[in-house]
């Protein structure tokens, strides 16, 4: 009788132990998978991508601006961060009509591409605007600063505190985070949502993997992942599956070509050169 009880207790302990180990294993597996998903395996400092932005007017494409996407390392006394910089500059022939000198930058962690500081400094045909977001991921707050120029040349500031979600990022770091997705594991039709903070408002961007396609670019013929991008509840990008992005189907996942439809027509972004790639 006692023997049976002892065996019963031992059996219960073994069952408990197995179920505990099972849970622990699942938790560990989840953590490992999550870390793999979020960890930066694509972007390195020193990368430089140059594009030509064209606007399609009645079927004829007109080159308007040069777009550059650069990464560099920024060291503070305590940390090392990655600076993601995007600039847009109109070509000389457009400067007299509509001069654009835009600068977008985001300072992100090297390992997980989490943004800590974002700046948008734009000058478009006499219109000037500066936006700055200082992230505090613990309190999930963003200290936002908006600076605009008055007609007399003086500037005025507007400070705001914006509550954000756990995964909210700015537009620049979102672009790089899309490149960091494990697209090779995705099936056509799979989609992923990104929350983007733009003009102090959170917007959801849906990225859908369509298929693989080989396209000819200035850096050669590349096999690419074709993605469609849609903005929920906004008219910025029009139509479904008409805003497309092609990322090379290799470890670098370079955006080589983009097609977008906006309320005043449609445009293209074509790669001109790519250097300093990680892989």
């Amino acid at each position: 009788m006692i023997k049976h009880r002892i065996f019963g207790i031992i059996y219960d302990i073994i069952i408990l132990y197995i179920s505990f180990m099972k849970k622990l294993f699942l938790i560990l597996l989840f953590l490992v998978c999550y870390q793999n998903f979020a960890q930066n395996k694509t972007i390195a400092a020193g990368e430089k991508l140059v594009y030509t932005a064209s606007y399609n007017m009645s079927g004829i494409l007109t080159d308007i601006a040069q777009v550059k996407m650069e990464t560099s390392e920024v060291k503070t006394s305590k940390n090392t961060l990655l600076r993601l910089k995007c600039t847009a500059t109109t070509y000389t022939k457009w400067d007299n009509f509509f001069k654009i000198r835009d600068l977008y930058e985001s300072y992100v962690s090297v390992n997980y591409l989490t943004p800590y500081l974002y700046k948008r400094d734009i000058s478009e045909g006499g219109y000037y605007k500066f936006m700055q977001y200082k992230y505090n991921h613990k309190t999930k707050l963003v200290q936002s600063l908006k600076r605009k120029k008055k007609k007399d040349g003086q500037t005025w500031d507007e400070n705001k505190s914006v509550k954000i979600g756990a995964s909210t990022k700015d537009i620049v770091s979102t672009l790089y985070n899309i490149r960091n997705l494990d697209i090779h594991k995705a099936k056509p039709g799979d989609q992923s949502d990104f929350t983007v903070l733009f003009d102090n408002k959170e917007t959801i961007i849906t990225v859908k993997y369509l298929n693989k396609e080989t396209i000819s670019t200035q850096i050669g013929s590349k096999e690419c992942y074709k993605l469609s991008i849609a903005v929920k509840g906004s008219d910025i990008l029009k139509g479904s599956n008409s805003n497309l992005l092609w990322l090379t189907a290799d470890d670098n996942k370079i955006p080589v070509y983009a097609k977008f439809k906006i309320p005043v027509g449609n445009g293209e972004l074509k790669i001109v050169s790519a250097s300093g790639l990680k892989h």
């Binding site: 007017m57 007109t62 961060l81 500081l117 700046k119 991921h137």
Partner: protein, 111 residues
């Protein structure tokens, strides 16, 4: 009919010339084609009526000028980025300012 074609031809030819001298010279090709077609139809109509097509000369002249400018621009104009000094200055200023801000931020590299 002929008057309408002359008006359309002139409008197209003038529009083509205006577009050809602007950065939108690529788009001048549409009014050039329209002006050219109108011109040819006017020539045929004038021949039928046995009249001398005087106005057609001006339409063709403007179309040829626009076409020459468009081809010249397409062949010889290279894409160049304008002055970026101001942008580079802002870039430097922003970087220095960002470094100062980042020193004061609570950064967790494992996030």
């Amino acid at each position: 009919m002929k008057k309408l074609l002359i008006t359309l031809g002139f409008i197209s030819a003038i529009l083509a010339t205006i577009l050809a001298v602007t950065p939108l010279s690529n788009l001048a090709i549409f009014p050039i084609i329209a002006g050219f077609i109108c011109g040819i139809v006017i020539v045929f109509l004038s021949k039928k009526e046995k009249q001398k097509p005087k106005t057609i000369q001006y339409i063709f002249l403007l179309v040829i000028i626009s076409l020459s400018i468009t081809i010249y621009k397409g062949v010889f104009t290279t894409l160049e980025v304008g002055d970026t000094e101001q942008l580079e200055e802002r870039d430097e200023e922003n970087l220095e300012d960002s470094k100062e801000i980042l020193e004061g931020l609570d950064i967790d590299e494992d996030l």
